[in-house]
């Protein structure tokens, strides 16, 4: 019951969805549409599960006084502040329990939830990912070496694309006469992207696509069961 029923559900639903893709008429089309709506709702619960799990994990770390436990209090407090702001005053056009609270909006210029998003979250998120610019530069300097034919190709392609896809590329080779236009850096970068890159990526795409098809079939037929977990 713990494994067989889920395996049957996967087989049954996977088959219906697959058949409905080829025969989109009744009853398959209708069942597939209904299942699509259900999927959306269950996905919503899955997101809630993720957030609650984060809450639980952090709470456990704090109660067990794990290393750096004090920091986890901050994430829990921020989580709760967002919940309270969202529930009481809503977001954008969405009213909260206290409806739109015009007074508070006049004070903050935005609803509290949107204020926190705009001034705290946006800055945090953007900065967190911009750190990668520094690490990428450092890695390029230390590890990007033309050791053999393959890595030389990789390096040359990267440099040409980096030059060709910025304004500096046009400036550096802007003087080239029309008869030699194929030597213009943006044109070289375009050629690499349109043909050489597309060829490699397409090979990966076709092979990965075949992999997805194989995995889907294994899941539907119950050969692949790892998604059910250990016990």
């Amino acid at each position: 019951m713990r494994r067989q029923i889920p395996l049957f559900i996967t087989f049954f639903i996977g088959t219906i969805i697959l058949v409905s893709e080829f025969i989109p008429h009744k009853p398959f089309g209708n069942i597939s549409t209904t299942l699509g709506g259900w999927f959306l709702i269950i996905s919503g619960f899955a997101i809630i599960l993720g957030q609650l799990n984060l809450f639980k994990v952090n709470l456990t770390k704090i109660s067990r006084k794990a290393p750096n436990w004090q920091y986890y209090i901050i994430s829990l407090v921020c989580f709760l502040i967002m919940l309270v702001c969202g529930i009481l005053w809503g977001t954008l056009r969405q009213p909260g329990l206290l409806y739109n609270s015009e007074g508070l909006v006049a004070f903050f210029g935005l609803k509290p939830f949107d204020y926190i998003f705009k001034y705290l979250f946006e800055n945090l998120s953007a900065t967190m990912f911009s750190l990668l610019a520094f690490f990428m530069a450092s890695a390029s300097y230390r590890a990007f070496r033309a050791r053999n034919a393959e890595s030389t190709l990789l390096l040359v392609a990267a440099v040409l694309v980096m030059l060709g896809r910025t304004t500096i590329g046009s400036t550096l080779t802007g003087w080239i006469p029309d008869s030699l236009t194929y030597l213009h850096l943006p044109n070289i970068a375009n050629f690499i992207m349109e043909y050489l890159n597309t060829a490699g990526q397409r090979a990966i795409m076709i092979c990965a696509g075949l992999g997805v098809i194989g995995s889907s079939l294994r899941i539907i037929l119950g050969i692949e069961r790892s998604y059910l977990g250990g016990r």
């Binding site: 259900w38 996905s43 993720g50 994430s75 043909y195 490699g200």
Partner: protein
Amino acid sequence: MALIMERIGIWVGAILTFAIFSFLYRDNPFYKIAEQIFIGISAGYWFIYTIYNILIPNLFTPLLTNFSANLLLLLPALLGILMLCRLIPRIDWVSRYSIALVVGTTAGLFFKRYLQSDVINQMNATMINPFSAPDLAATIGQLILIIGTVTGIIYFFFSKKHEGVFGGTARVGIFFLMISFGAAFGYTVMARISLLIGRLDFLLGDWLGIIKP
């Protein structure tokens, strides 16, 4: 007042920006605090938007306004609750029913979509006549495209040992893949620098007002 709050918001944003940047020197408490604020706000945001944009309009409102017509929605609601049971270790296995529906739907849909978009359509896009291209560069490009795609696929074929003519062809495939990875690296550098530009624009523009918006 709203203007003052906007200024305060920008200052808080700038302080948090520096707190994150401080990680470039080394890991430190300021970075850790900013990191936890980021996680907390992000989780709260997802939670609220899931409730307001998915569960209320697609589940609760239909059930509350017209229960009898939407009786069938009780089933995904039940499966959703089963999903939440994953938080209780003693009965976490019941979530498998919901996961089975999600996995089954995804597998069924992915089979057809990937077959069509990533396999058949990509093969079609490779079966072109390079000699009907408008100019020499395009003809050469399209020839390269065909050779690169075929040799790349051969490289990924591991059921036969890569030796002889087959091995040589696979090696040509590796060259194309390397050029793709190089191009991907170039574009990744471009993306990350753009994010840094965004940050510097905020610090120099919104915060310090040195550059005009």
